[in-house]
Symmetry: C2
Subunit: 64 residues, 2 copies
């Protein structure tokens, strides 16, 4: 599942590890979401948005 997480994270000047800590998950989870290999829960998506000061659409929306 494609998303803009990697770009947004780098714009925020955070490593995967730092974002993972802000959000309360492991680095692996962040890595796999960036790679499109995980289907995260809404709660986690929202926590990532809050950490990066973005909205769901900005990071996770994909046209059908």
């Amino acid at each position: 599942m494609r998303n803009n997480l990697k770009v947004a994270r780098i714009q925020a000047n955070l490593t995967q590890q730092q974002l993972a800590e802000k959000v309360g998950v492991t680095r692996q989870t962040i890595s796999l979401i960036e790679k499109g290999k995980y289907n995260p829960t809404l709660k986690l998506c929202l926590e990532i948005c809050y950490a990066l000061n973005k909205t769901l659409d900005e990071i996770f929306w994909v046209e059908k």
Copy 2:
């Protein structure tokens, strides 16, 4: 977890059962998401958005 699913579904003139079928889940899953008792996956959120012709922010965004 709060969301605008119920309002959007009714605006689209669909029952929970009809939306569930469009999206490929059970009626119970839709009901529990509307009630804020489920934490759906991103994939399911997107499928709901496609079925209702809305974006993630319109249905699932909540300010921190």
